[in-house]
């Protein structure tokens, strides 16, 4: 494959910019996603687009890649005004994109997946060879013959990158690429990206992680609520100054308080093993864990390593064959369905808010009924007590600062952060003895995230045992008293958060903790 003439990786703009956006505006029926966006990317430049969830980053990238069209504004590509009509058109121009939620097909193999994105009818055997070449050249190891469903998320990302690179892109868009990687894998990815930039490929790097942007990017454009609020040279900024550009004020800090020693065991996993019912899922293997009253235990891990299955097993959404592996406040609950586990004192907040934690087209009041029917006394002899339901919902909205149109508002109409606050409030108001939370702040804006973390800490201080499963390491270090790692369906020992660091947990995330069973099983976690 041939690449354009290599250029120095400096951000010094000379000659024609590779991409210029002028006054991009995108209006959806209910929201203005982008408004008057200007942005210029030079050849060989790694350009960060920074902003919190909902700032309009993804919409902007979809416009550049031709997935959706701008309402107003102009795109200039290498000096010529263009209308990017479709992703195929974008690719023919030389624009490639690696999606945050991958656009791969699970039941096809790597080569077929790559072939689908290439024009014409590529010969699959030759293509497989090309894939191997590119994967070697850029340090992206992947086997072209494997089925995608058998790949780890890290490997899938490599497939996406290779798929882009095979088309010799002159601009590569990376949408939140590090959210699925271990800290070590992030470093390798950065090496690849620097190599690409050195060869003259421009990179648009979308992220909300300030330290990464500082490490990698030459320039940054900051978005807030669909508008550009500034641009800067990350190496000359501090995370705090960039945060101010991003959210318009200082980053909120959680009051963690002193970790208590922990009281009695409220949640015990005693040798939990379970085969996933999803053929592409991860089996849980012999998991042991105690969560005590008054502590927060965090479980870190790269997504797809058994987090889903673990939550299903703890919540009872997938009951086990035996009773003893899950014990709630001393009750062997392994075979109980979720409602009985709730009566035993457990609350849970799932990762998917719409469709699992809440019914999208039902009102907030009705959604209170979903889990709080008995715990908050919302029923009267089998019939719904509408008054009590409304009251509970109103209280929850007020106490958890949920911005919405009242208890009658559809769950679907709320922003991710507000819905999460509501669901969190619904569970906490039932005064659980154990609370299990998955991805508490996934896709939530900074303000709501801080509020949610603070609520968890306060709940801990009131004596609840809390288990948090998250893929955000920073978050876990911020709120947890103890941390464990899940990798390939196994759980590491826990370690007090104060006695470990990101580096060590990162290594554990590849399955390599002291005394880990069989290092040969780490491939899935890589």
């Amino acid at each position: 494959m041939t690449n354009p003439t290599p250029q120095p990786p400096s951000a010094a703009p000379h000659g024609t910019p590779r991409l210029t956006l002028r006054g991009i505006r995108k209006v959806y029926p209910s929201v203005v996603a982008n408004d008057g966006i200007d942005l210029t990317v030079q050849p060989g430049e790694i350009h960060a687009v920074l902003g919190e969830n909902g700032a309009g980053k993804s919409t902007l990238m979809k416009i550049i890649y031709g997935v959706t069209r701008q309402t107003e504004g102009e795109i200039e590509w290498e000096g010529k005004t263009v209308e990017v009509e479709s992703p195929a058109h974008a690719r023919s121009l030389g624009i490639g994109m690696v999606f945050q939620h991958f656009s791969l097909f699970e039941t096809l193999n790597v080569t077929q997946n790559v072939a689908l994105a290439l024009p014409g009818k590529p010969d699959l055997r030759a293509l497989a060879k090309q894939i191997e070449e590119v994967s070697q050249r850029y340090g992206l190891p992947v086997d072209p013959r494997r089925m995608v469903h058998a790949l780890s998320v890290g490997e899938r990302q490599r497939v996406e990158i290779i798929r882009c690179l095979l088309q010799n892109p002159r601009l590569l868009i990376m949408d939140e690429p590090t959210s699925v990687l271990t800290p070590q894998a992030v470093r390798k990815l950065f090496e690849t990206l620097r190599q690409l930039a050195a060869e003259g490929c421009s990179i648009l790097y979308i992220s909300h992680k300030l330290d990464e942007i500082q490490e990698l990017c030459h320039t940054a454009t900051v978005l807030r609520a669909g508008k550009v609020t500034g641009s800067c040279t990350p190496s000359q900024e501090t995370p705090a100054s960039m945060a101010r550009l991003m959210i318009g004020k200082d980053l909120p800090v959680c009051e963690h308080g002193a970790a208590s020693a922990g009281g009695e065991v409220r949640l015990r996993l005693a040798g939990l093993s379970h085969a996933s019912e999803d053929p592409f899922g991860t089996d849980l293997k012999d998991i042991h864990l105690d969560v005590r009253s008054g502590e927060i235990v965090g479980i870190a891990g790269v997504s797809g390593n058994g987090q889903q299955e673990l939550l299903y097993a703890i919540s009872g959404e997938e009951p086990l064959a035996e009773k003893f592996p899950v014990q709630i406040c001393g009750i062997e609950a392994g075979r109980m369905p979720p409602d009985q586990r709730r009566s035993a004192g457990m609350g849970f907040v799932p990762e998917e808010r719409l469709g699992r934690g809440a019914v999208p087209r039902m009102s907030l009041a009705e959604n209170a009924l979903l889990t709080a029917h008995t715990g908050a006394g919302l029923l009267r002899s089998g019939l719904i007590n509408f008054g009590a339901m409304e009251k509970f919902s109103t209280e929850c909205i007020a106490a958890y600062n949920v911005k919405c149109g009242g208890p009658g508002a559809e769950a679907k109409s709320l922003s991710g952060g507000n819905l999460q606050k509501y669901i969190m409030g619904r569970e906490i108001m039932q005064a659980p003895k154990v609370l299990v939370v998955a991805q508490p702040t996934w896709g939530v804006d900074v303000g709501a995230a801080a509020f949610i973390r603070q609520s968890l800490i306060e709940l801990r201080n009131r004596g609840t045992a809390i288990l948090v499963i998250s893929e955000e390491l920073d978050e876990l270090f911020e709120i947890s008293d103890r941390i464990a790692v899940i990798a390939n369906g196994r759980l590491s020992p826990t370690k007090p958060a104060a006695e470990t660091n990101v580096e060590e947990i990162g290594v554990w995330m590849s399955g390599m903790w002291p005394g880990a069973a069989g290092v040969e099983e780490v491939s899935h976690a890589a």
Binding site: V67, R69, P87, H89, A90, S103, T107, L108, L116, K121
Partner: protein, 310 residues
Amino acid sequence: MEANLITSMLFATVVAGTPLVIVALGLLVSEKSGVLNLGAEGMMAMGAIAAFAVTHETGSPWLGVLAGMGAGMVMSFLFGILVLSLMANQVASGLALSIFGVGLSAFVGKPFESVALAAVPPIRLPFLADIPVIGPALYNQQALVYFSWALMWAVVWFLYRSRAGLVLRAVGEAPASAHSIGYPVIRIRYLATLFGGAMAGIGGAFLSVFYTPLWVEGMVAGRGWIALALVVFATWRPLRVMVGAYLFGGVMIAQLFVQGSGLEIDMPSQVLSSLPYWATIVVLVIISRNAATIRLNAPVSLGQPYRADT
């Protein structure tokens, strides 16, 4: 005498299975793109009456087959408008198509209720038809029987060897991903739906022009639904569709042979007539018992509406 019986049973089995082969293969292709069309019964009924009417008026069974195919396509296009352009629920829309098709075919078919068509002579394949026992059963058949075999291989080639088939499968698995790398999901689904309709129409035409050369209201008799079950039974694999269709063909004709065999079986004819329906249920139970089999093989987006945000 023994050999004769085997030959005629085999012959009848193939004939009875053929409409199922054709219809189920069409449905399989449309389901592979993610479209679940429960309107097969209605499309077959419309195909049957259109083919019968045109054959009756023109005297040409081939124009009849074309008309049946056209009728099936029109029906599937209506379905496409509902579920692909207007994003209506696929289950409800399929039911609507079935009810509508069965009703409309009964309505327009009224004048044709008491007429018969001339039987269409089979096509004898030289040499092959001379093979003892199986030759006369398999190679002295209606042209549409040969067509169904060719169709099976064409579908296999299309789905697993051609790029278009790869794209179709990709659309059925993850429409959002397919859209994000630039494939026109809705257009591809329309084409697959139309193909399903065309095959259902031809299957209906086979029934009314070749199989019984008669039009009777309700003559499709659940074959559209059985074809839908066959696709599940075959776990979306073309070769297994064909095997399954012939199994059902065998069950359907068993009744005739039991009654014609002169065996003293004290069994009401209704019990025998109900065999294919029981068989469908049994077959569904056997294949569905293992949820993982279905989940591994079913197109992931089957039955789910898709809309690109633009």
